[in-house]
């Protein structure tokens, strides 16, 4: 049994954890300043608002496009073309040997 050293990786994880703690502490310290807190909240509200607006625009486009698209596409169907249930194959347990035999 061999063992690959993970000491450096562990040190990296510790550094990462310390970094995250410092970032959280820094964020708390910055947010304790009312002006910064207000600016941050404004920014968050702006971003959330922008996401909602983009979502509404997409929904609006879908709403506007739906009926013309429905009218333009029509119900497509094939007349006089035979299909068989034997063509529909279920996905079951398989292996690389099965694939070779195909």
């Amino acid at each position: 049994m061999k063992k690959a050293g993970t000491g450096k990786s562990a040190l990296g994880l510790v550094m990462l954890a310390i970094g995250v703690i410092i970032m959280i502490a820094l964020a708390i310290w910055v947010l304790m300043n009312p002006a910064v807190l207000a600016a941050t909240l404004t920014l968050i509200l702006f971003i959330v608002g922008a996401i909602i607006v983009i979502g509404l625009i997409i929904l609006g486009i879908m709403f506007i496009l739906a009926i013309p698209m429905y009218a333009a596409k029509g119900e497509q169907y094939q007349d006089g073309v035979d299909y068989s249930i034997n063509d529909v194959k279920p996905v079951k347990e398989s292996s690389s040997e099965d694939k070779k035999n195909e």
């Binding site: 698209m69 429905y70 119900e75 529909v88 996905v91 292996s95 690389s96």
Partner: protein, 226 residues
Amino acid sequence: MRYTITGDNLQFVNIELTPDEEFHSVAGAMAYMTGNMRMEAVMEGGLMSGLKRSLSGSSLFLLKYRPQNSTGVVGLGGKVPGKILDIDVGKGAWIVQKTGYLGAQPTVKLDMAFQKKIGAAFFGGEGFILQKLSGSGMAFVGACGDLNVVELKAGEQYKVSTANAVAWEDTVSYDISAAGGIKTSLFGGEGLFVTTLTGPGKIVIQSMTLQDLANALIPYLPSNNN
């Protein structure tokens, strides 16, 4: 590379690798591996490829598996109750629904694909961004529910409920069609559109989408009131 796909509705794909072979999977797919197997997270193709993978529903980092001077086995599982499908990408490129990619041989290229038709992108149920598998080798795709595979001849068409198309060969034409008249559209339960898949090429259809499963479970979720 040898593999088996085992299980019924929560399947495993078990992959046997010789010392000179590698396998890649999406992050979080590994269920088990033998003691001689090592895995490493790699940002295959660099940051841009990683970001493209993330946007197409895969992971920023891929996991690379390699046995250490001997033959080893790694087992992957899907993230939802469903089936795993093996695809020989060497026979032709495939388009796969977002989050479908599970793993593949390193010779398989995973890329982002876009819906080309605006109607299909908005109303096809699969969204704008899909996954494209090209190159050569075996790839594995996981999806919710049971799966059916149909090989369409040129001009043959299947109409599929929106979002129930899991994967299709690059040669298959993906579009939408009206579900029917006003009665069918309002009371048929399919909405205004169905997806049309026109051959030639193979298509894979699922019996249940993850959204269907979530909707079926919502009434039974415990709440604070009862």
